[in-house]
């Protein structure tokens, strides 16, 4: 029973991490229908940027963290401005191919500077953040993940539901022509969604880095893990990304714990196929409203 509970807790924490990694991906898809294949590389960039700030520049952790978030927010703006804006109005497939190119470019850049080695952050999370409940032990990094993802989830929920900018973003995703006719700055919306996506990605990159160490190949492969998460949760649902992440996380840890560690990457995909057979739009995806 203890083993089960421990797996459950670990699964939820890993899953939350997948969920917030996927959140940025969903943001971009929601506002511009672009599948961002460079998402994993954005994660990695965030993690390495943070690494550079704390090891080379020797900044305090909190300052480095905030600077990383700001830097990646700007980076998202720049990506949109220089790479995606010229493609506005082109076919979606060109834009998606461009993100594949961006992925290769970012990965190359990181390899050039840091190489393919595994780095670790100096440990800075206080052991007092760990939660001990009977036999269950939640490591500090998991507690941090839990808190951060909750905060981000609430912020984004409010942002999209209540703020004017969030509603404009949803309107652009919904009907670009109508948004344009009402004077919504469509380009600004795209830029903002890239910026926010990059910010969220960098944040999850840092958390992953704390957990597993910083390695460009590992981090960029998380970008692929995002796909089952968002397809399961529904491509355009932020809450769905979180739930999808938790389900995938649980499936992974339970498979690893009870069946065999080598199966842990396979079983989630098998379950995914079955869920999609029943709910083709994912668990929380918007069902296409059709007027008959």
């Amino acid at each position: 029973m203890d083993f089960f509970l421990q797996l459950l807790v670990n699964g939820v924490c890993v899953g939350l991490l997948y969920g917030i990694s996927a959140m940025g991906f969903v943001m971009i898809f929601k506002s511009s229908s672009v599948l961002n294949f460079a998402h994993g590389e954005l994660l990695a960039l965030g993690a390495f940027f943070f690494l550079a700030l704390i090891t080379w520049a020797k900044l305090p952790i909190l300052v480095a963290f905030i600077l990383t978030l700001i830097g990646c927010f700007m980076l998202g703006f720049l990506i949109e401005r220089f790479f995606l804006r010229p493609l506005i109005g082109e076919k979606l497939i060109f834009v998606i191919m461009l993100t594949v190119g961006l992925a290769a470019m970012f990965k190359g850049l990181i390899l050039l500077i840091w190489g393919g080695n595994l780095y670790t952050y100096p440990s800075f999370l206080n052991e007092s953040m760990a939660l001990n409940m009977g036999a269950i032990y939640i490591a500090p990094v998991y507690t941090a993940t839990l808190i951060i993802s909750m905060i981000f989830l609430i912020i984004f929920g409010l942002f999209f539901k209540k703020s004017a900018q969030g509603i404009y973003m949803r309107s652009v995703a919904d009907n670009q022509k109508a948004a344009l006719s009402l004077g919504v700055h469509v380009r600004r919306v795209f830029a903002l969604s890239w910026a926010i996506a990059a910010l969220v990605a960098s944040m999850s990159g840092i958390v992953l880095g704390i957990m597993n160490g910083v390695n460009v190949h590992d981090l960029s492969s998380i970008g692929l893990k995002v796909f089952p998460v968002v397809i399961l949760g529904g491509l355009d649902s932020i809450g769905g990304a979180i739930v999808g992440g938790i389900i995938i996380g649980l499936l992974e840890t339970f498979t690893g714990g009870y069946l065999s560690p080598s199966l842990r990457d396979v079983v989630p995909y098998i379950v995914l196929v079955f869920i999609l057979l029943i709910k083709p739009y994912g668990l929380f995806g918007l069902v296409e409203i059709e007027r008959v």
Partner: protein, 285 residues
């Protein structure tokens, strides 16, 4: 349907009682070309007086929608361009400006076929209408829209995708009102609606015009309805203006009667077949 007492605010009285007319929008001989080869408008000139309702009539493909899009700047996303002539709004040259700029000058176009944001609620849809002045309070405007369209109140939390055609038409007009337009352009608001709903919508259009002094350009197939509310009318065919005049003159014009009101010269309704064959013999150009 409850009737609201129509009280004319001072502005409207001023506009209506003013003898000297002020032109708010002027199109001088504009040509529009799509994809560099397809010429849709071939020298369209029209002028819209401030505070008036001006209707543009014409059959499918005459260039009515393109004229509106040329004004609102929405040609660009469709690969269209004003190649010739000028569009002057409020003293400013606005042809080929971006829709972001034009909407902020006070011109809002309500697109054909309603185009709601399907996954946003009615109220969120209305909020998008405030994009041209984002950050400003909008509660008062919401109340105003609900005053014009009481139907929307009970549906405010419903997703627009699940609303009826009539509700949606009211929604998109209301959404445009949220932007405080000086010039409101409506593209076929009667499209696919029941006659009673059409009547209600035209009543409200008239009311908006009278209460706020909003200038309205109305593109319509439903000529009888449009001429009833409009002050002035233009008739388009093949990318040109072929006729213009005060609404009551147009209504009595035998050609307009024939083509758009479905009446013979004697005033009795004529069968559609006869209209068509007659049309083949006589062109207006």
């Amino acid at each position: 349907m409850a009737n609201y007492p129509i009280e004319l605010p001072p502005v409207a009285v001023f506009v209506l009682g003013h003898k000297m007319s002020e032109i708010i929008l002027q199109l001088n001989n504009i040509s529009v070309v799509y994809s560099d080869v397809i010429q849709v408008l071939k020298g369209v000139s029209l002028s819209v007086e401030k505070g008036h309702i001006v209707s543009i009539l014409g059959s499918n493909g005459a260039g009515k929608t393109t004229t509106l899009k040329a004004i609102s700047g929405l040609l660009k996303p469709e690969n269209g361009e004003v190649t010739d002539g000028e569009i002057i709004y409020d003293g400013k040259n606005i042809q080929n400006s971006s829709p972001e700029y034009i909407t902020r000058q006070g011109i809002i176009q309500v697109l054909e076929g309603r185009q709601p944001f399907k996954y946003l609620t009615i109220e969120e849809n209305l909020r998008v209408g405030t994009a041209t002045r984002s950050g400003k309070p909008y509660k008062q405007d919401l109340d105003l829209v609900y005053h014009y369209f009481p139907v929307l109140v009970s549906r405010r939390k419903a997703l627009a995708g699940y609303c009826s055609g009539g509700e949606l038409q009211m929604l998109v007009i209301g959404r445009a009102l949220m932007a405080h337009p000086q010039l409101l352009m409506l593209d076929e608001p009667s499209l696919g609606l029941a006659p009673l709903v059409v009547k209600e919508i035209f009543r409200i259009i008239k009311m908006i015009n009278e209460e706020h002094g909003t200038t309205i350009v109305l593109v319509e197939q439903n000529a009888a309805m449009a001429l009833q509310v409009a002050h002035y009318g233009y008739v388009m065919e093949n990318g040109k203006i072929v006729m213009e005049g005060m609404s009551k003159d147009l209504m009595n014009n035998p050609d307009v009667k024939e083509f758009y009101l479905g009446m013979a010269a004697s005033g009795i309704a004529k069968s559609y077949k006869d209209v068509k064959s007659y049309r083949r013999r006589k062109r207006w150009l």
